[in-house]
Symmetry: C2
Subunit: 361 residues, 2 copies
């Protein structure tokens, strides 16, 4: 049984720890993958929400950042990032318009649109501020985004509303399923190719053809795409391990937790859903994984309890043991924490505030 | 179709709003229920994490607060609460011991224990500090807690370790299921009666016989219990509506959200799992509910998208409409927010910081 111990000076459990060496390796590998493929890399910063990590991504050649909310964009602009893409079909109300204008005054700002109606609304609110518009298309995830063939209609509405249309994007979220990564990457390329061609036929620019997500980025078609937007790769998580996007050795973030209770082949850790997040796709083996014990399953999470079941007859960690639990979905876990404890081979190196935590609007 | 509008001055969506009048009615009703039954009320503050609400609970007669973590206990002690029960089988490491001692110096502090081993560990760390110990028993939820008949063994170990044993508690979490509330309340009473009798036979005090949870509190057996610890009742949520613990009219907290995208009978709201939380029990109708549209179902949550499906042929809210989404599990949603916007009949009254948000250790 592998027991983990941590030096004095670390916080009481549970807390989120980042292994700096693994994170740096993940960052470098993705930068190389993008460079080798001739693709621009615009990492999604919603995963980490940390300016220190964003700076490393930019130093390694990222062309800018992707964000999910205006609040996140403001935090990363404050941290010195000058090229931000808010990949979301934001609805612009009065109060939000002033924030967008202010942000466009200090960064190159691109916003998603997925209907002629939202394009007109955006134009009314912020035309003339230099904001760029990128049309979202649905490549098979069926969440937001227009059908690829309809992209030109939305783009023309945006142009008529006074916006600078620069291209198209998609999120191939249907790649989050066992065996679905290659097909989702192919769908992504097909949808973007159709949408970009429609814009070109309509006399509009499709300089930006943006796709990607950690599960599909290995299959991103560089004959179509100009840009990829993976987020999770910086840390990885149990979902990515179980999807085959990475191995346990590539997981850089874990919740350091203590065994507080025990009965038979089951132990209770003090990291529950308020630390790990409650995401659990139907195909997951449980509510996360345990780095030291790949054979164990997290069968349930309460707010402050993880129920960890070991195989019958296996040795079970004693009460007081320290284990590292990895979340199913690291974006959710990071958004629960005020800070990340940075370790290098287990030794405390730094503490990073999660500066954009909770910036949901 | 019921449309919701909100006055200028409110934040951009999404944000969490509390209807003060409904919350006050919920607080008063639970205080009366406890008083009528002759039970002490010790509300679980993990739900709200807000000192302003804790003070209202204490003013209405609560004997003290329940908390889930030492960090929460510290926040509520700072806010002036002098009687705190940490209903969790905390494992006491060196760093945590000093915090417990400091807290016990300024509040009556009770801690959960669920093994002789953790009782000895707690005694070694904090005996003599005035900390009280309460033995956790398993009444059927099968998470933490000893079997009721074994409560005396744990209590005797605690006494031998120099702790002041004051009674027994349980969390009947198996009441979170359709039709399961009455049986879980009966199981709770049976387990607590067995455990309290075991303590008494061993010559120990069972002055505190504590149970309760919002689903089971209506069935709490006042011939056995001395105390109830509901938390969710302050706000209620979609789970409680679907379990029958309350109606939509009793739900005091919602995520105010905007329709940002639309296709056929489906709309996308800008409140996703980073606002509502991802909790979804198997028996839930979806990922939350919409107050204005009980006929709609939230069929999926991404981090910043809620997919809301309306019945075929039903009128669907236009893009830009404001809707109020209620989370499945309000404790998770509150823990994602930095502040709660307090409304009275839709008009802004106050903004409360979620002071104990993220205090997981």
């Amino acid at each position: 049984m592998h027991e983990t111990t941590f030096a004095a000076g670390l916080p009481s459990t549970p807390f989120l720890a980042v292994e700096a060496g693994i994170m740096e390796r993940n960052l470098a590998a993705m930068a190389k993958h993008a460079a080798d493929a001739g693709l621009s890399l615009r990492p999604h910063a919603k995963t980490h929400k940390v300016p220190q990590i964003a700076r490393k991504q930019l130093e390694l050649g990222a062309v800018g950042l992707t964000v999910a909310t205006l609040g996140e964009a403001e935090v990363f602009a404050d941290a010195g990032c000058t090229d931000l893409f808010l990949a979301y079909p934001l609805w612009v109300t009065g109060a939000r318009a002033a924030r967008i204008r202010a942000l466009a005054g200090r960064a190159t700002l691109s916003l998603g649109i997925d209907s002629a109606e939202s394009a007109r609304e955006l134009g009314r609110a912020v035309a003339g501020s230099g904001v760029r518009a990128v049309v979202e298309v649905d490549s098979g995830h069926h969440r937001s985004g227009v059908q690829p063939a309809d992209a030109a209609e939305v783009a023309l509405a945006a142009q008529a509303a006074g916006l600078d249309v620069v291209g198209v994007f998609t999120f191939p979220g249907h790649g989050y399923g066992p065996g679905k990564r290659p097909q989702a990457a192919a769908d992504e390329a097909a949808a973007l190719a159709t949408a970009a061609a429609a814009l070109t036929r309509a006399g509009l620019s499709a300089a930006v053809i943006s796709g990607g997500s950690t599960p599909t980025v290995a299959g991103a078609d560089s004959s179509v795409l100009t840009e990829i937007r993976p987020g999770v790769y910086v840390f990885n998580d149990a979902q990515q391990v179980e999807l085959g996007s990475c191995t346990f050795e590539d997981v850089a973030l874990s919740a350091v937790a203590t065994v507080v209770s025990s009965s038979g082949n089951t132990v209770i850790l003090d990291a529950g859903s308020k630390v790990l997040g409650a995401d659990q796709p139907a195909w997951a083996t449980g509510c996360g994984r345990i780095l030291e014990h790949p054979e164990a399953r997290i069968t349930a999470l309460s707010e402050h309890h993880a129920t960890v079941v070991f195989p019958e007859g296996a040795a079970v960690p004693a009460r007081g043991s320290i284990l590292r639990a990895i979340p199913n979905h690291v974006c959710a876990a990071v958004n629960l924490a005020d800070e990340l404890v940075v370790l290098r081979e287990g030794v405390l190196e730094d503490v990073w505030p999660v500066a954009a935590r909770g910036r949901n609007n």
